[in-house]
Amino acid sequence: MNDDLLNILSNSNKDIDNQLLMDYLSGKLSAEKSHEVEKMMADNDLFNDAMEGLQQIRNKKDIQTYVEQLNRDLQKNLTKKRQRREKRKLKEGPWGYVAAIVIIMLCIAAYYVVKKVLAAHGYPHS
């Protein structure tokens, strides 16, 4: 029995080659390369579902446009979140510390003022 048959039990965990998938969809691949993609599809449900879905799109050029749009939005989304976080840090960061220090200093000052006033009035009684 040929060892290749053991591949039936394997699950593909190859990293994605998007260009290869697009070429497959456009029918540009040789029989050997097509088999390579189809093997990934047979071994992995993600590849299989994705290729079945992509095959439904008539104009294959649209796929590239959609993917580019989605990637742009993704990057925007990630950068927006980062910028928002940095802005918040900048807004909250130094002022929070400054406020805390001012409050502590006021407390210390108040303590000494009260102590002095009390001493001036003869408190505590000795």
Partner: protein, 192 residues
């Protein structure tokens, strides 16, 4: 014609990107990793939703979900995980839209349970022997397509040409044949 932009981070594997993200929490790694899956996610959404605009919206929602969920726990099998998230999201959308009763398995990851892992303890010779026996038990069409695909490494189109089956039939014989083979082998090993 080049249709997909070249990824300048091609030398970094998915796993490395994931590890880097978990190490320093930088979203840049996530951006690179997710953009590799945009095409596949769009395809999965198309398969379930059938509408291009709807599929695009769905991919965006899946991205948001992943960005929120991924830092919460350590994901080991990213490809399986992302597929589960995408598929569940699409099925939920379908259910919301059409009130269609879609069965959502809570343990969907079991679908991607590495079948070879279950058989890992078996020796190769024994496995080949079981494979031979199980192949004989398959239906003629499934057996023929499986042999042409896995043994002779033929493409779907070549198998169509050789057998006269339709493309859909070939795909289905290979998928079902593969599943049946796994079941048969599991049954045989559980008996021994």
């Amino acid at each position: 014609m080049k249709t997909v932009n070249h990824d300048p981070n091609n030398h970094i594997t998915d796993q490395e990107l994931l590890d880097r993200f978990y190490a320093d929490g930088k979203k840049e790694w996530l951006g690179i990793l997710l953009s590799r899956y945009t095409l596949l996610l769009f395809g999965v959404c198309m398969k379930y939703l059938k509408q291009e605009e709807e599929a695009k919206d769905c991919v965006q929602q899946i991205f948001v979900k992943i960005i929120i969920e991924l830092p919460k726990y350590r994901v080991t099998y990213f490809k399986s995980w992302i597929y589960t998230i995408a598929r569940n999201h699409c099925l939920m959308k379908l259910r919301d839209q059409h009130g269609r009763k879609v069965e959502l398995s809570e343990n969907m990851l079991a679908d991607w349970d590495d079948a070879s892992g279950k058989n890992r303890h078996l020796e190769k010779d024994r496995l080949l022997e079981l494979m031979g026996e199980s192949l004989e038990e398959l239906g003629e069409e499934q057996k023929r397509c499986i042999l042409l695909f896995y043994l002779e490494k033929r493409s779907y189109q070549e198998i169509v040409d050789v057998t006269g089956y339709t493309l859909m039939q070939v795909k289905s014989y290979i998928q079902n044949g593969k599943r049946n083979l796994k079941l048969l082998i599991e049954r045989k090993t559980s008996k021994t």
